[in-house]
């Protein structure tokens, strides 16, 4: 491996650089079919760095051309032409459309196919369809772009990652995140400790396309990690024979919150306390503070990209440097990325050997604000002032008492939100490199046979620390509180496979494509923490985890007569996490396709340009349970204050852990049927997919029969879920002309997920509480139960009076026993949508372009925990010591005195339509320099009835939500 790497580097140093005295050639490059000029076509002197690009009228001029030089003319979608220079001063060139290259190539995992020949539910989303704006997290590029893919942005923290669900996920306790493969390297599904988003080290600017594999026919080649779908990310590379190009791109953005949680102001609060019997108004202050105004600020951000690319004969490269910096709307929050991407390609031996080195290196810096300030700002008494010099809390006001003659903080009181932000540091630096070397070799003696080696690693090193000084009221100990940590995540990959592709003379012509290979991947993580606990400093035990996955895989695809497609694949995965007796899982898949448009009765049609039927079956697995050695009985020594007194000594303890010797793969069976169509030369195109999935041997943390194991809950294989859905994607070119183009993309997904079995027993009323809420300890608002979606809420049905006001404590007595007990709670509504959609508009007139993206979600509900936790009078008055807490204004509507956490009053419809982004841009093409400017607004408009800050909260429990900012982005791009 090392030899290969060194050789590659050596080759790079041997870059051919030759200079001769020469002439100049000019000319025009045009389409052969229409005669229209082709702007942007490449003109290169083969084997040199000498080249140019045609201008807007297809004209070019290239100097320093010597007799005998070969000029290559190339443009994407057209066949490349080569002309030998023999002293002509003008060379006009007509390029022919290349049907072979026109057909879009899509990756399918350990290989590629054409869009026409794909038999699975596969969708490619290219850069021109990406969301506009100052996008920091890569997944945001494709939010709303693909049917069946739901991307819920995280909170509004800078660089915060979102949640990706393909077809809604299928598991309970195992991960529901898709497998993400970057340039052939599957990333660790557990993410990177200390980082806001495991994908942030991939610069969005450098992403060429995303390929989403949705059904098992497509994903099962990834075996045990494929149940939640697979996203293949391909980054941009250099191109053969292209002149040197340098570009600089900058996006400057500003954002601010557009709404605040509705709480009582000082005047309302003061009168409420005065009016509540048994309160002591002297505990109130005489200020008027809007705590939310105190903690939020305007966020500013900038994203710079410097890119250089060139193709010098068969060596081509792309280099990119990215600097991204953004402060959050919550004061003190900050994200910075410094990324250096390298893509080097070298083709050797008449292109028989292709070497690709891609390396994504980043240094992320984070400052994490204490997000506890968000909840504190909602609850802190608005009659108190921010500052108070007379108190010993760093100049801030805090609720206090006198102890032994000293002023100390009240123990469980809400802390001053501004002090939480100011008297706290939480810094992090993450270094990461995702690097891989890919070698593809076509055998001389058998060019149909190709050997591929893909060796990669993903190494992340995070260091950081938190610090809270003694003076801060939130520090209740007697020393400065700190914690310093170091995390390493490492993932090594070696894939090798053979691919054999040929035409055989069977039923006219059959294209045969066979792949077989082996893969090994090892994941290692290490973490070490030194910090304080109470008044002591501890060097906490190191955490080391290692797991490995070994796989064999094979695929065979046949294209019979360019009409009938048959494909089958199998993967065998062996995981170190599974007990030896269950270690190997086998994941087969089969799919068929019928290209109707190639049948005689359609091939001549002017209306139908494409019509293909697809059907597939596949099995996949899921073992992303977040822990290793789950099948081994382990012993854990105790740490910290977990010793027991025997006589005068304190003996540390040793605990045997629960385990399931038979823990095995979660397996998913998937059926998919689809149709792809294109009408009027594909001006209207799209696809419809329907799927049915069954997850068996579901891995879930469930109550274990009491006494049978060494804990109350056990991660084990239990139960099944069934999900089904329909996805429609449509694309229409409303206008297609030289000056004016207008495309609309629309997708809609209907989905339904249901737990069909959850226990070894047969009790139909069995359920497992889920979804912890704020307010009280151990309160859950959701449940897992047979027959219900896993995000179903579990609530009392509120009774209302004639005026439509909720009557405090009055609930429907479901079981009719004349009292309201827990037995009267009912499963009701759910957090996941029934259907969701995306609409993208792109339009350009000459050099002006305009685009926007709408996204909508319907049938989803949110439990408004912000209202339920602070929306009753005792939440403000019945506090553990001498202070009062502010209330949600909702209390004025309900008048609730006591907590009514489980009332479905707080369950609110959260259907929404969002205008995610709207962008207008203008391109100024120049002789040597292209310039582009754009203006984008993101998170522009939210249409919803939901009463909270934002109807889009993953999991459906709205509490302490970090508001997303509305941003305005100015983008400038200049390319030489």
């Amino acid at each position: 491996m090392r030899t290969l790497f060194k050789s590659t580097l050596f080759l790079l140093l041997m870059l051919p650089m030759s200079f001769f005295a020469q002439n100049t050639v000019t000319g025009t490059v045009s389409e052969s079919a229409t005669g229209l000029p082709i702007p942007g076509a490449n003109v290169i002197v083969q084997g040199t760095t000498n080249g140019t690009v045609t201008d807007f009228d297809g004209n070019y001029s290239i100097s320093n051309v010597a007799e005998g030089d070969i000029l290559t003319f190339s443009y994407l979608g057209f066949a490349t032409k080569e002309i030998t220079y023999s002293g002509q001063s003008t060379i006009d060139i007509l390029l022919d459309e290349d049907s072979a290259t026109l057909e879009e190539v899509v990756l399918i995992g350990y290989g590629a196919t054409s869009e026409q020949d794909a038999t699975g539910a596969v969708e490619k989303i290219s850069a021109d369809q990406f969301n506009q704006g100052a996008v920091v997290s890569p997944e945001q590029l494709i939010a709303g772009k693909s049917a069946g893919v739901q991307i819920t942005p995280g909170g509004g923290a800078p660089g915060q990652g979102g949640t990706i669900r393909i077809r809604g996920g299928s598991s309970l306790s195992a991960s529901n995140d898709p497998l993400i493969v970057v340039d052939g390297v599957p990333l660790d599904q557990r993410g990177v400790a200390g980082s806001r988003n495991a994908l942030n080290s991939i610069n969005p600017n450098e992403i060429e396309d995303f390929t989403v594999l949705k059904d098992a026919a497509a994903t099962s080649i990834y075996g045990s990690r494929a149940s939640n779908g697979v996203i293949l990310i391909t980054t941009k590379k250099g191109k053969r024979d292209t002149p040197f190009q340098f570009s600089y791109d900058v996006k400057i953005s500003a954002g601010s919150i557009n709404d605040k949680v509705d709480v009582l102001n000082a005047e309302e609060f003061r009168s409420l306390i005065n009016d509540t019997p048994g309160t002591n108004p002297s505990l109130l202050g005489d200020s008027d503070t809007d705590w939310q105004d105190e903690i939020y600020e305007t966020s500013l951000g900038a994203i710079h990209n410097l890119t250089a690319t060139q193709g010098i004969g068969d060596f081509y490269y792309r280099l990119n440097f990215n600097h991204t910096a953004e402060n959050g709307v919550l004061t003190g929050d900050y994200y910075e990325r410094n990324a250096f991407n390298v893509a080097l390609n070298q083709d050797l031996f008449d292109n028989k050997l292709k070497l690709t080195l891609t390396s994504k290196n980043s240094l992320d810096r984070n400052k994490f604000a204490d997000q506890g300030a968000i909840g504190a700002a909602v609850a802190f008494d608005p009659t108190q002032s921010v500052l108070d010099d007379t108190l010993p809390f760093g100049g801030y006001f805090e609720f206090n008492r006198v102890s032994g003659g000293n002023i100390v903080q009240q123990n469980l009181a809400t802390r001053n939100p501004v002090a939480l932000l100011d008297l706290y540091e939480d810094d992090n630096q993450t270094r990461r490199s995702i690097t891989n070397l890919n070698a593809e070799y076509k055998f001389h003696f058998l060019p149909e046979l190709k050997a591929v080696v893909n060796a990669g690693f993903d190494y992340a090193e995070a260091r950081g620390g938190t610090f809270r000084p003694l003076i801060a009221a939130a520090n209740t100990t007697n020393i400065n509180q700190f914690s310093n940590y170091e995390n390493i995540n490492r993932n090594l990959l070696l894939d090798t496979y053979l691919n054999y592709k040929t035409d055989v003379d069977f039923l006219n012509t059959t294209e045969v494509d066979l792949t077989a290979g082996h893969s090994y991947q090892e994941f290692y993580s290490f973490s070490n923490v030194t910090g304080t606990e109470q008044d002591q400093i501890f060097d906490f035990p190191r955490d080391i985890n290692r797991n490995a996955l070994e796989s064999y895989f094979a695929r065979a695809s046949f294209d019979i007569n360019d009409k009938y497609l048959i494909s089958g694949s199998i993967r065998a995965d062996g995981s170190s996490r599974v007990a030896p007796q269950n270690r190997w899982g086998y994941f087969p898949a089969a799919s068929v396709g019928w290209k109707l448009h190639n049948e005689d009765f359609l091939s001549a049609s002017n209306t139908v340009s494409e019509l293909k039927l697809r059907g597939g079956y596949g099995e996949t697995g899921n073992y992303e349970i977040g822990r290793n050695y789950g099948y081994l009985g382990l012993y854990t020594p105790s740490q910290g204050g977990a010793r027991y007194q025997f006589g005068s000594t304190f003996v540390p303890t040793l605990r045997p852990e629960e385990y399931d010797e038979d823990l095995k793969w979660e397996s998913l069976i998937n059926y998919n049927a689809g149709i792809d169509f294109g009408f009027f030369s594909n001006r209207l195109s799209g696809s419809v997919d329907a799927y049915y999935r069954e997850t068996e041997d579901l891995i879930a943390t469930v109550p274990v029969p009491a006494g049978a194991n060494l804990s109350d809950q056990l991660l084990t294989n239990v139960g099944t879920t069934v999900s089904r859905g329909i996805e429609v994607g449509l694309s229409g070119d409303i206008a297609r002309s030289e000056d004016f183009n207008w495309t609309l993309n629309y997708n809609i997904s209907f989905q339904d997920l249901e737990i069909t079995k959850l226990t070894l027993g047969d009790d139909p009323n069995f359920f497992i509480p889920q979804g912890g809420i704020s307010g009280g300890v151990g309160n859950n608002i959701q449940l897992w139960k047979e027959g219900y979606d896993p995000t179903t809420f579990f609530v009392f049905r509120q009774v209302y009076n004639e005026q439509g006001q909720p009557i405090e404590g009055a609930y429907v007595d479901v079981n009719g026993d004349n009292q309201i007990t827990e037995a009267d709670k009912q499963p009701y509504k759910k957090a996941t949508p029934d259907y969701y959609m995306g609409l993208t508009n792109t339009m350009n007139y000459k050099n002006l372009d305009f685009s926007f993206t709408f996204r909508g979600s319907f049938g989803n509900y949110i439990y408004n925990n912000t209202q339920s936790a602070n929306g009753f009078i005792e939440a403000g008055t019945n506090t553990p010591s001498n202070y009062y807490s502010n209330l949600n204004s909702n209390v004025l509507e309900t008048g609730f005195v006591n907590s009514q956490f489980f009332s479905d009053y707080y369950l609110q419809a959260a259907d929404f339509v969002k205008l995610d982004n709207i962008s207008v841009g203008y391109t100024v093409p120049g002789e040597k320099v292209d310039f582009r400017a754009s203006l984008t607004a993101t998170n522009v408009l939210v249409i919803t009835d939901y009463e909270g800050l934002d109807p889009e909260v993953f999991g459906g429990i709205d509490n302490n939500f970090y508001p997303r900012s509305r941003r305005f982005v100015l983008g400038l791009n200049i390319a030489f």
């Binding site: 290969l4 050789s7 910290g640 204050g641 027991y644 040793l654 385990y659 809950q713 300890v777």
Partner: protein
Amino acid sequence: MFNKLKSTFLVLFGLAVLWSCESELDLEPEDNRETSESAFEDPEAYKQFLAKLYAGFAISGQDGPAGDPDLSGLDEGFSQYMRLYWKLQELTTDEAVIGWNDGTIKDLHNQNWTSGNEFIRTMYSRVMYQIAQSNEYLRQTEPSVLDGRGVDAATQDQIAVYRAEARFLRALSYWHALDLYGNPPFVTEEDAVGAFLPEQISSNELFDYIESELLAIEGELIDAGANEYGRADKAAAWMLLSKLYLNAEKYTGTGRYNEVVTYTDKVIDANYSLVDDYQKLFLADNNSNGAQNEIIFPITFDGINTQAYGGMTFIIHAAVGGEMDPDDFGINGGWAGLRTTSALVNKFLDNEDDAIEEVEDERAIFFTEGQSKEIEDISSFTDGYAVAKYKNIDTNGNAGSDPTGDFPDTDFPMFRLADAYLMYAEAVLRGGGGSEADALAYINELRERAYGNSDNNISSSDLSLNFILAERARELYWEAHRRTDLIRFGQFSDGGVWPFKGGVPQGTTTESFRDLMPIPASDLGVNTNLTQNPGY
């Protein structure tokens, strides 16, 4: 050059294809976690594992105070053994109410709990967890297993005592299971660890099992008072036997009061003595201020070494609120939850209108400033007198060892001599033989300590069962005995009324099936061998 590269590539490719890594799929922990083979290489492990069994009553996991919980079904602090046991034994009675909004916590005092109640569920899980851990201990310390590991004879002798203590702790938890749930699942060291469905055991059979276990280990345990502080000895087993026999009529239908007299006698004859000042039993230094001579079996806590958000941390913090000064309790602040009802307060009063502050009984340790005696709103801390019995200060008024004031040093007196006196007297009254004169003398010993003189001693005519029940409340309130006592006297559900019983301010009786807690719905759902207790 290129040819060399090509051949290098081919060789590498060949190697990569052939490289099989299957052996690298057998991975074991590389950090401080151990497999069962490596864990016991150090003989200290046997003592540490035993310490885990004891710590199971005091702390909630492997990272004190919190961070690596034993149970995952409920918040870690809430899932602690003594906290749950205390809640089920006290909040369900006239001795305590709690003001919080945590799930179904108020259903305990309202006596309208269902089989879905998470406190009842988690207590059940905790008890069965403790039993499963003890079983694992017994499996790992089988003499044949020890021989296999080459453990020397001296260590094996030591481990034999540990095993007896492990069986005592298991019997203690099984007694809690019997008392609370009646018919729990039954597992012993004969069962393997897995996901099998344990069989349900009847109260009668479980009674016999606990009795036989305690009798079997009686000879193996260290003599009364001779073991290290914190560890169980013969007297602990006698106390547990006495408790078991005293409630036998409830468990099996047959009274066993003679045995109560036998075993409380053994305790009383052993070298225990009442501490001079009642308050000392509940202070930070109750392991050294003389109370240790009265406490037969403590659950120990320590501000530095034995930290949890349950146990004494809960009992002390949750009882402080309102006008109470946290400094007086050696803590950094109250959690403002626990108070008592007027029913307990009145037990100290000759006339209900008397002021509790005037009462000479030093056991009446209430905080009344800013508190109302009667409760209007359970959620409001100032409704109902606060109980100031437990404190994290020592005899001299100094706070415990934790400088942050979070975690107390105060040990929980699970079994103490005063309880043995009261059980003896009750068994005598219930016809268990013994000496009525001794019974009277024991009771008066307690009263003399309480009043500091003999003015309030009782005569034999005062000594009745009703008196015993009230005296048990006065002596042992908030020590997790009340529910069991009320059930034994028929005063828990369909008899007996106190404020907010049944969820109404004046209190009302409930149905008698509530003498047993329900088998949690979650376990019924996964274990088809189980049948729900009647009424639920």
